[in-house]
């Protein structure tokens, strides 16, 4: 029988009358990895904050290493070996790897002076423990997301972590990086360190965790060995409803003689080579490939943000030069970026302003002032059409959940009425329920005549939405799949096979 590390019993928490957690109990053993799954607002973040001492539970108790706490402070939680790695990784972008890893440890010793040899030795010993090598003198801010995450894990290990809680750890990682991360997590488990994953990504939930706990509306609805779980059950338990993914009806794209968008021998130095493909009306064309395959560069080129060096872009039979974003938007192209927070929205500004911004020049009165009535009408229309969940358009965009923010980015571009819409990772960081709604929205847009280019590495998503799927690898299109004639397994294999062959 494995030794128990943490037990939470009958935890309840209310915020201003809203129940965030309702009588939740679970436990985790030494060296176990567990997945805490739930949609946004299900209470999983609240649970983490209670365990780490940021919040105090209204009811219930926590037992760690046999010590019982009615309420636990952040310091006590840390002393019991609980370390939380948040999505921002808690690093200093301006400092070196060595210093980032060692600094908390040095602070806890209360020393006044810095011994740089000690800083480096400490950092190196930490990196050795998880068996990775990252240059100690590199500046943290210049490293890849995966490396920064490893630094955060190393930091936790150095702090004698017995339980590491990772919040959405795979969000910005490539498939290979995720594999590497999982390998490290297995090693940590073997060393007796327990891990709690907080995640949306259902595939990974199955792959890594020995056990899965699902929260919905603040209640625990499932606590089971991961092996016995299938995706359908997880989805059902998270959302409380069946998500129908099998029977999607397409109106087959009318293969008109003239494609909506035709790309010929498009080339971008360090991006992609010799890309040629067509996109028809009513079609959703998926583009997949690993991070670095050139898929994002392609989207940016079509949208004029990273203009191609040579090749032709033909829209409606007419060759058009796309040198900048204005060229693209004026030709009826819209782009929903991957990083909607940074590139897609003005977070502190109102939902209404965010929707109106891309067509603000058409919303003017005769005196060229902004017609605020027209602006509000437009925003209301799209909030309703896309089912954005907000009491009013006056709230700032940052008050929305991930899924609703993504809808807002869509609304912003749909208001512009594009002929061709490029979507890059349309459901990254969006929970399952909203995900299927966004997919339905994409399909309905295509049915209404739009041509949609959807970039994603989420294979089930591609299978549920696309008519055709192009596979990119090292800047080239290497394969094309027709949805009806392929399967999730085949696509996954093709995508990953490339990876394996290269190593």
């Amino acid at each position: 029988m494995a030794e128990e590390l943490l037990r939470v019993e009958h935890i309840s928490k209310n915020f201003a009358g809203v129940t965030a957690l309702d009588d939740v109990s679970f436990s985790i053993d030494k060296g176990e990895s567990m997945c805490l799954v739930g949609e946004n607002g299900s209470g999983k973040s609240t649970m983490i904050k209670i365990i780490s001492g940021v919040y105090t539970a209204d009811e219930g108790k926590i037992t760690i290493n046999g010590n019982q706490y009615k309420k636990i402070t952040p310091l006590e939680s840390m002393h019991e070996g609980i370390q939380v790695i948040y999505q921002d990784f808690g690093l200093f972008p301006n400092l070196t790897v060595a210093e980032n890893i060692s600094i908390s440890e040095l602070l806890s010793t209360g020393k006044k002076l810095v011994n740089w040899n000690q800083v480096r030795e400490l950092a190196q010993s930490g990196l050795d423990k998880i068996g990775v090598s990252i240059p100690l003198d590199a500046i943290a801010g210049t490293l890849s997301t995966a490396d920064r995450q490893l630094i955060a894990i190393t930091k936790a290990i150095l702090a004698d972590a017995r339980l590491i809680i990772m919040d959405e750890p795979t969000t910005a990682l490539t498939r290979r990086e995720i594999e590497a991360l999982f390998k490290i997590i297995q090693d940590l488990n073997e060393q007796g360190i327990a891990i709690i994953f907080v995640s949306h990504k259902l595939n990974e939930v199955r792959q890594i965790s020995q056990r899965t706990v699902i929260l919905r509306n603040g209640k625990k609805v499932l606590d089971q060995d991961a092996e016995k779980l299938d995706i359908k059950t997880i989805e059902y338990q998270m959302t409380g409803r069946e998500i129908d993914t099998s029977s999607i009806k397409y109106s087959h794209p009318a293969k008109t003689s003239q494609p909506l968008l035709k790309v010929e021998k498009l080339y971008l130095a360090n991006g992609f080579f010799d890309l040629s493909f067509e996109l028809y009306k009513n079609e959703v064309l998926g583009i997949t490939g690993l991070l670095g395959s050139g898929r994002t560069e392609l989207a940016l080129s079509l949208f004029g943000q990273l203009p191609a060096d040579s090749g032709k872009i033909i829209i409606d039979g007419e060759e058009v030069p796309i040198r900048n974003i204005f060229d693209a938007t004026s030709r009826g192209l819209g782009y929903v970026p991957e990083d909607r927070i940074r590139e897609g929205l003005f977070l502190p500004h109102s939902i209404t302003d965010n929707i109106a911004v891309s067509i603000i020049d058409t919303l003017t009165t005769t005196a060229s002032f902004i017609d605020s009535q027209a602006k509000e009408n437009l925003a209301e229309e799209w909030i309703e059409k896309l089912n954005v969940k907000t009491p009013t358009g006056d709230l700032p965009a940052q008050s929305l959940s991930g899924g609703n923010q993504q809808r807002l980015v869509l609304a912003k571009w749909l208001a512009h009425n594009p002929k061709i819409l490029i979507l890059n990772g349309p459901t990254v960081g969006v929970d399952v329920g909203s995900k299927s709604e966004i997919h339905e929205l994409i399909r309905s847009l295509a049915r209404k005549g739009m041509g949609i280019l959807m970039i994603s590495d989420d294979i089930p998503e591609l299978m549920q939405t696309c008519n055709r799927i192009l596979l990119m690898r090292r800047g080239k299109i290497v394969n094309e799949f027709i949805r009806e004639k392929t399967s999730e397994e085949e696509l996954t294999q093709e995508l990953v096979a490339i990876d394996i062959n290269n190593h």
Partner: protein, 338 residues
Amino acid sequence: MFSKLIKSNEFLVLLIIIVLSIVIGLINPAFFSVATIYDILRASNVYNLMAFGLLLVVILGGVDISFVAITAVASYGTHMAMLKIDYQGGIWLYFLIGIAIGVICGLLNGLLITKFKLPIFDLTLATQTMLYGFSLFFLGATANFDLPEGMVGYYGKYLAVTQDPFIGTTGLHISVLYVLAAGIAIWWLLKYTMIGRGIYAIGGNREVAKRSGFNIDKITMIVFVIMGVLSAIAGVTQSGFQRNFSPTLFIGQNLNVLASVILGGASIHGGKGTVIGTFLGVVLTQLINRALILTGIPVEWQQFVIGVLLIIFIAIPAIREERNRKVGHTTELITEEE
């Protein structure tokens, strides 16, 4: 190691200083002399003292506006008090009392910022006005030229003297020692103390610094006290140079000092900056100043040239980042090829 050096901001500033010196020297050979070096150093010293203090605030992630007013209150205030007791001794007592006033001003800034969680820029904009106002209203409205006897010769207190056919007799002023001491102290503080690392950490990511256990309030207080001390030393030194005490000493110079700090490679967004860079930034500013006089270019151009240089220096990190983003794509592709 060498390539890292070449890419560093300090190296770039040094390169500009060298190139500029050669150009000036070719136009006016009189420029190549020991006297020029002494002269530029002498003019740089007080600015360096202020810049070192400001560097700390900038790394912390803020911009202090008020330090120039502290130089005035500390030096002029001390002088007015000394006049009352008819002090005739040396400058050391001025330093002592001036520093005490500087510490008080620094504590005032620091306390207001940490207790009321005020933005550094906003608060010091207010304290600058307040301190100059205090200086003018309570201390006196005009510059005072009655130096104590022990201070009369201070402006000519040289460590080494040289005869120059153009400039005449000049030397290496003793205040270069203050700069040396302050520079080494600040460099050591930044590199080898937890407080110094805390200053970088707070500038890099304030939230994480707090979470990691840095005492942000304490570190902020220390930074402003140091800023106050260095401002006071700069104020007394400058007054000794110019042989009068003014209630509006250095008024309007704060942004010039900030310009030198930024030229020296500190980031206005915090988290970045070095003592050597700051020193070079100040020297470059003074060199441009000197160069324009020696080459006969109107003084007004000085501002223009420094402005242009600033644009270039602010643009460089942005351009590098842009290039990194492009190179980033390449590296991803290359790793795929492995």
